[in-house]
Amino acid sequence: MGKQKKEAVGTVGGRRIADIVMKCRNLWKIYGKIVAVKDVSLEIKEGDIKLIFGPSGSGKSTLARCLAMLTTPTKGDVFLREECLTKPGVALNKARARIGFVFQHIWLFHHLTGLGNVELGLRRVLKLPKKEARERAMQALREVKMEEWANKYPAQLSGGQQQRVGIARALAMSPEIILLDEPTSSLDPELTGEVIDTLRDLAKKGSTMLVISHEMPFAREVADEMMFLDEGTIVERGPPERFFTKPSSERARRFMARLIKRTRGK
């Protein structure tokens, strides 16, 4: 029955819905009186790189967390492929295993080595045998150029190295989409560079990503679409070029001007 259903929704109007990896519809997240995410809809297709930026407190992180179902949206729906994650009774653990998440403050498991961090999900979620998990974890660490430090504990690594392990931890699970919540904002400029290089590699490999970042040169280079978020809502969206040349909203224009000035200042 399940298979039949899948085929039935596989194509709509000649377009394959399966091409959309993740989408949300009219998503709201309200904490008490504070509206963190306000009526956001977006879709991310296979191989897409979407970039979200906006002032602090604009709800970027909350939005990413809602998409990964790490917090439950107040209203609206989140879909991973055809599956609606906001319906009651969905196996969220299974869905989360298919969504990679990289945190702003990295959040590695302190008691495990870099390798242990990457292995944990492979062993306990994907239930891979020890040897296979190890190989796959090492492969992921190699991709972020961290294999030499595989046996170091998080506290023995620099911030940039930690974040690369964080990326490897998400990557190793072969997620269908990776959400990155300001992966470089807790790092100094030098370390930011190494993480951005890693992300650039990922982008080249065609990974589907939603990145929250203010690294504008990176955005311009890899993003298919940029979204400017302010006060919980997407104020403007479009190709990077438009944001860099003539954003249509005044709010985005002012924000871009400040960002570009800051980048040049560096």
Partner: protein, 211 residues
């Protein structure tokens, strides 16, 4: 005779501390993640064992429970049960504190990988919490060892009770109790040293944890 008493004290302490640890972990998890009703029940349990004297607890279990259940429980079993339940109440506090000090982010990161909450507790939160809990846990061990001397109220021949008997026979009160005290002291020092070594061994490299 002294050796027998010492072994009994060690048995009760180790049983209490180990079963208490297992129960304490379960109580801490139940209190943190179990919801309102389990958490209230656990609170009552903990308050009873922390809020009433150990001797009273021993009496209750020794005199009332057998009458109530209409079966005979020997003193030694009563001692084991009371010490395990009592220690669980204290250890729950330490473990809960340690689990809370493992920040929410470790749980969020675990969930993001697709681990279930139970798996996150098992593989991420507890391994970190148990490392942190060792220093306060060694206090619990000390106090539990010394509390075994309360067993003489129900007539169990623990180390102190043996000492009391010897003192009564020989009239060498000071020497006897000094010797008994020395045995406690040595035993506790040895275990504390072991715990200290263990603590340093499992310490997460690069992090100085202060509990």
């Amino acid at each position: 005779m002294i050796f027998k008493g010492f072994i009994l004290t060690v048995q009760v302490t180790l049983f209490g501390v180990i079963i208490g640890l297992v129960l304490g972990i379960l109580l801490a998890i139940g209190d943190l993640y179990g919801g309102k009703i389990p958490s209230t029940i656990i609170k009552f349990y903990v308050e009873f064992f922390r809020g009433s004297p150990l001797i009273v607890q021993l009496f209750i279990f020794y005199f009332s429970i057998p009458t109530m259940l209409n079966m005979l429980i020997d003193k030694f079993t009563v001692a084991l049960i009371v010490f395990a339940l009592n220690s669980a109440a204290y250890q729950k506090g330490y473990i809960k504190g340690a689990m809370e000090s493992v920040y929410e982010d470790q749980m969020t990161a675990s969930l993001s990988l697709g681990l279930s909450k139970a798996q996150a507790i098992r593989y991420v939160v507890l391994p970190q919490a148990l490392r942190i809990v060792i220093p306060p846990w060694s206090n619990e061990f000390c106090s539990l060892t010394k509390s075994t001397s309360a067993l003489l109220v129900i007539g169990v021949m623990d180390l102190t009770n043996v000492g009391k008997t010897i003192a009564a026979w020989t009239w060498r009160v000071l020497e006897t109790y000094a010797f008994i005290a020395l045995i406690y002291l040595l035993w506790i020092s040895v275990v504390l040293k072991i715990l200290d070594i263990l603590y340093n061994k499992v310490k997460i490299p690069g992090i100085e944890i202060t509990a």
